[in-house]
């Protein structure tokens, strides 16, 4: 599993302030922490960056590259900022993201070709977010055709099926799982990637990590290649790097079996089992899923 650390993000007060002040220290700290935790890529999310887009992105890229060799994933909806960042990247970067909308095809996708970067390609198109696995397939097929015409091979494409919060639309989470299993047949050579934290948006803060980690184990089994994750979650890294085989095995059992005997399991493992069951759609999600 390729892990992309998400914490250098304009939604964080610390990072947002650091960007405003052009203060490298907080950025360096976040880089260090995520690197130590074993992230394979670092996501640099500068947001829509209406003010001085190129300059802001350049500063961000320079600051990060100044203290690490980890390759970068550039995350912005602003094409000017994106291009400036891609130019600055020393290593092959990941363009996060383009979509199936006409606008994105015109302004974002060509940048991936121009700078030889990887391309995160989302299933969103001009109709909006696809509502099920088949619609996602339809959308991504069209985008892949277009990418092919631009000369971007499947190997450079990281498909983002767009993960929805389980508390907002549980069926979309099931559709996500159905879809990633289609990807090898649908788009041979392409990778799958997701914004994992989306899954738990709206859930009780202290339980978000549990939801995210459990889901990552589930989709890893279904062939998920990459995920944008909380860069500081050490347990998440342990889980997907094979350091917690028993827990992983339990989660797989919760996926396969209707009833898993919870007696004798630690509290943490019981929680993983219950969480897996909810994520597999065996019961309707609620914020109190652990208490039932």
């Amino acid at each position: 599993m390729i892990l992309i650390g998400e914490d250098l993000n304009v939604m964080s007060k610390t990072i947002s302030q650091a960007i405003k002040d052009r203060d490298p220290e907080p950025v360096k700290q976040y880089v260090e922490g995520q690197a130590k935790n074993g992230m394979d890529y670092l996501d640099l999310n500068v947001g829509p960056v209406k003010k001085a887009p190129a300059e802001t992105m350049e500063w961000m890229v320079d600051t990060v590259q100044g203290c690490t060799d980890i390759p970068l994933c550039l995350d912005t909806t602003n094409p000017e900022a994106m291009e400036a960042g891609l130019k600055r990247c020393k290593k092959k970067a990941l363009l996060n993201s383009a979509s199936g909308t006409e606008e994105s095809r015109q302004t974002m996708m060509p940048l991936a070709k121009k700078y030889g970067s990887g391309l995160v390609l989302s299933v969103i198109n001009d109709t909006g977010l696809p509502s099920d696995a088949d619609e996602r397939a339809g959308s991504i097929l069209e985008s892949l055709e277009y990418a092919g015409e631009l000369g971007i091979p499947n190997e450079d494409i990281w498909i983002d099926p767009v993960l929805m919060p389980v508390g907002v639309d549980q069926r979309q989470v099931l559709a996500y799982m159905e879809f990633i299993q289609m990807i090898p047949d649908l788009a041979p050579g392409a990778k799958s990637v997701c914004g994992l934290s989306n899954l738990s948006y709206g859930a009780p803060k202290e339980l978000r990590g549990l939801l995210n980690r459990t889901f990552l184990v589930i989709i890893a089994r279904y062939g998920q290649d990459a995920a944008i994750v909380s860069g500081f979650d050490a347990e998440l890294v342990r889980l997907v790097r094979g350091e917690m085989p028993e827990t992983v095995s339990l989660i797989h059992r919760a996926m396969d079996e209707d009833d898993v005997d919870l007696s004798g399991l630690s509290k943490e493992d019981q929680a993983y089992v219950k969480t897996a069951q909810v994520l597999m759609g065996k019961t309707l999600y609620s914020n109190s899923w652990l208490e039932v």
């Binding site: 829509p48 909006g128 099920d132 397939a137 097929l141 047949d185 649908l186 041979p188």
Partner: protein, 449 residues
Amino acid sequence: MALKGAEIMKKLPKTNCKECGFATCFAFAMKLANGAAGLDQCPYLSPEVRAELEGAMAPPIRLVTIGTGKNAVAVGEEEVMFRHEKAFFHAPGIAVRISDTLDDSDIEEAIERIKGLRFERIGHELKADLIALSHDSGDRERFEALVKKAAGACDLPLILVSEDTDALFAAASLCADKKPLVYPVTRENMEAAVPRLKELGLPAGVRGNGLDDVIAVTTGLKAAGVEDCVIDAGAGNMMEGLRDQTLIRRAALKKGFRPLGYPTLCFPCNMYGDKYEEALAISVLMIRYAGIVVTSLMEKEFIFPLLVHRFNIFSDPRRPMTVEEKVYEISNPDENAPVLISTNYALDFFIVSAAIEEAGIPAFLCIKDTGGIGVLAAWTSGKFTGEAIADFLDRHKVEQKVAHRKLIIPGVAKKLKDELEEELPAWEIVLGPSEAGDIPKFLSKESNA
């Protein structure tokens, strides 16, 4: 589509030879499922597999079109029992009935009234979409005169209703080019009806006495090559109609039972003497799977609520409903009235505008088009940023509507405040409440400040 891509895939060669024009068999299967490719494109399907796929790929509920041109009504091709499972795709047609027992001037008036049953709601047109012409007089000439008149006077699709099969088809041949639905086609008149249906190319309004009877008719019609059917199992009241139409849809969708795989037709106009009861029955039957409802109601007060009801239920739950982008004036605001801004997600609009109305404080509610998505998501995707809003205020000349320069923004959009302060230095940006329910209190305080 009946078959999903993954199921079609099972029948394909799986060689990824690309001769169909797609990179993989799976891609081809997805396109087939969407109707974006044809079985012809794969040279490696055996005739048996082809026939099997063709049959299985046909939608479980046939799509039947009545009428022609831009007013044609298409019903059927539904995929789910409950709208929240995916969506309902074809709203039922509402047919207003005119009887041939009316005299000429009443008929003319009726036609005009029906044509006038059109309304606009949040940018969409809602209208009664068919006219049912009923042969009750026993006089064929009267019926034909009615049909001629209606066909000539308006473009709405027609349903011809007569227990006299000859009269029915004689009238149908007068307006066959308008592709009317002819009703009833029954076990008794099927034999006579089939050649006429085929010759005129018309859809059949099948009536049976219960489901078994309907099955006998549709099976016979299909064998004879008539496949465009709309079916009526003869329900005499709302609850029976609910039962019949539920069982029909279940049979079609869950059992793949083709003899009932057709859109339905019902006649609330024959079920109740009371207008209110008829209207309520229509509202229920439209939700519970009617393809066409035939009504006697022509009054705006009765039809308009039913049109809004249909519009609501048949909206696509997967797509947020939106309202028009503009500056809405609530309770006659003057130049000192507060100015609020929000996104064009319809539900939010209704809630916010209702809260403002309830507060009893006149205000300008600026609604910006964000494709129907809410405040935070719209901000993230650049549709509700400082720049976008400044542009809105400019385009809609908001500065000219008010003497003050105070803009109230949704309380959840804290990041937006800074952006707007930069974009609009002449304006004071005020964070409003996060919950619409707090708007009245907030506006009260503001107006007293």
